[in-house]
Symmetry: C2
Subunit: 451 residues, 2 copies
Amino acid sequence: MQTKYLLSEDQIPKQWYNIIPDMPGPLAPVINPRTMKPVTPDDLLPIFPMALIAQEVSRERWIPIPDEIREIYKLWRPAPLYRAHRLERMLQTPARIYYKYEGVSPAGSHKPNSAIPQAWYNKQAGIRRLATETGAGQWGSSLALACNFFGLECTVYMVKVSCTQKPYRKSMMQLWGAKVIPSPSEFTNAGRSILAHDPDSAGSLGIAISEAVEDAASHADTNYALGSVLNHVCLHQTVIGQEAKAQMELTGDYPDVVIACCGGGSNFAGLAFPFIADRAAGKQVRCMAVEPASCPTLTKGVYAFDYGDTAKIAPISMMYTLGHDFMPPGIHAGGLRYHGESPLVSQLYHAGEIEAKSYKQNACFEGALLFARSEGIVPAPESSHAIRAAIDEAVLAKEEGKEKVILFGLSGHGQLDMGAYDAYLSGNLEDYDYPEQKIREALERLPKVTL
Amino acid sequence: MQTKYLLSEDQIPKQWYNIIPDMPGPLAPVINPRTMKPVTPDDLLPIFPMALIAQEVSRERWIPIPDEIREIYKLWRPAPLYRAHRLERMLQTPARIYYKYEGVSPAGSHKPNSAIPQAWYNKQAGIRRLATETGAGQWGSSLALACNFFGLECTVYMVKVSCTQKPYRKSMMQLWGAKVIPSPSEFTNAGRSILAHDPDSAGSLGIAISEAVEDAASHADTNYALGSVLNHVCLHQTVIGQEAKAQMELTGDYPDVVIACCGGGSNFAGLAFPFIADRAAGKQVRCMAVEPASCPTLTKGVYAFDYGDTAKIAPISMMYTLGHDFMPPGIHAGGLRYHGESPLVSQLYHAGEIEAKSYKQNACFEGALLFARSEGIVPAPESSHAIRAAIDEAVLAKEEGKEKVILFGLSGHGQLDMGAYDAYLSGNLEDYDYPEQKIREALERLPKVTL
């Protein structure tokens, strides 16, 4: 009874899959918040290298992965695909459940899939240092790892309260040589202006983004790197779905439904986009993005132009949003707390090409516990959203007496999130109702864009 | 350039390798501390199932691995073997360095290799609950995982100070359904007698062993499980070395030296014993056990009969020991702080069949940092001892201008040990000189055994 489906290193994808030419209609322009006109490549050059700007708008379906990047991918890729035999038995379901596990990377999640190429293209462009922000720490540690491999300096603006709550993530960044700066800091105008009004500010992702972007924009040898949302980040993550397709072929099954958790959208895009591409060949596959009920961007947000950050210095994109100053409650799935959503994922959802579902965190941890006790692996709180949705699909299959093939993305492990499990096991995990009034208020502050 | 050497699930070993028939001479008897006579199987039945007692003394070279155990092994086995290309380049060494990585198990170390069979054999024997002790928490979490799979209850006596210092390990045990009791506790005579004299006792591994053994011995439905030292634990771990041999064949290389960290000895045994077996076929391979300079059992201890625990209730074995009441300093490699050593490993060392080396912890963390920055993986503090020795062998190869093939065991990841890395990076990690006077004193209290 086979449990793991492995590929050899020469089966690491040689190209990333770019969904842009296959989108259902043209992309909306991205707007420069200063000029309120469409962004030009020149607008982005102070913070991104030209190669990544080109990937952001490329209409090539396949983009070659440089050998130097594939060499680093080999440290953990191809990532394994599992058949969840024990979970199936526990659920007594006729469904066959598979999961693609990205927690095998040194940083413990899928994030290095994009951190490695971002660092490499910046190195090629002669950049000496990258600046970024991190909340929960998954992205910051992945970029620290990537910069370390290519001899780049790395500055991570880490939300101040996270430095205290997630000290191990901070330590990992430092182990890989990054400089971690609690945000808000005295190093940027953005940070200083916050501290002037509130010296004890605990920080927020919005502030940390502003600090990192300002740092990059004001130093010629420094660029900025973002861990999700952007087209080129979704692009890099498609190694996940391409490998999963090759592995599903080994199983002899093809998924009826592909499920992934969705915050900024790159994890969902990475797994789902290569399956969506199969539809052109007549394959029928549902794709489901799962998000927290307390930050329900797709399921309760609006499809509109909005700023990428709270401070309104990042570009304005057409996307599902809860409003750029929406502050979601402090759930444990820190990686799913973004107010917006990848424009590509948003457009697909708006066109009815994909589904979305939301869960409260106790329901997710209930699924994570069932998973940890059947499959062994401790899931990241983010990934637990996909697990919960997969379990519900499997239970439905049982009720309907249907065979069904379910594939979900296990985007990371949760060994550094045990405090969240403690809270769940002791019955102290809060469920948040989605603050409808707050969203309505935030949506009144969307930018006015006239094309 | 291949980085990982993988095996398929049907290449998970079907037998454990038992080194007893290949030992250089007969085994010394194990002594019952109450009677001071050789232990009989009946002496052990109150705490171990007959199948494991039989394995402890078996003279069969190959012992079949039950299918039910191989099914669970499939959740992470075969474990990958890596070529450390990037570390080699960093060291500019002509040596080829390979490492076998056991951190891919759900618990993050090699420990489940024995926890799974121990739980299974106890389940077969009709046992309802297992009791054990844990210090750093690697063994406790592995046994919790194993008991969970087979529907056994699990009680872990965890050294009280570790409950505070390693809260995430405690959480993992609870996630997998174990009951964690800070030791010393009010639940046993051993615990109560300690608390009567010292209500604030921080606990010790010796006390926790006494509590777990007493719990098992005083409940008919409960047995005891030990995570290292014993012959059957070394036996179970030989899946590591057998897989590594098959993977080394794929590389086209054969190791000149095999290196593993060594506390109780089962990790070293697991990797090295199958290579030692190759000597009968004329292969020349050095095997090196690496231990902390602050707990130098092989390199500074004596080969003598001694108690397995501080409270003198565990059997007396012929082994290298620092004395059963030797208390090593609180180094971060918590898994290497045992006063004794596997009798099998001890006998091999006494016979000159294997080498031993010790390092202070700053030297080990220096190696771990180099490794994390070249290979990405964050090593467990225990495993860093093997890394340091492998680096020194590689540097020596460079100085001598020799090609050399080095294989070392990376027994676990260190993502839950980031506090230790913080201490190292901030220059606050203490190096302990080995307390020679204390060892001399402890050795005066060895038991007198007359055969």
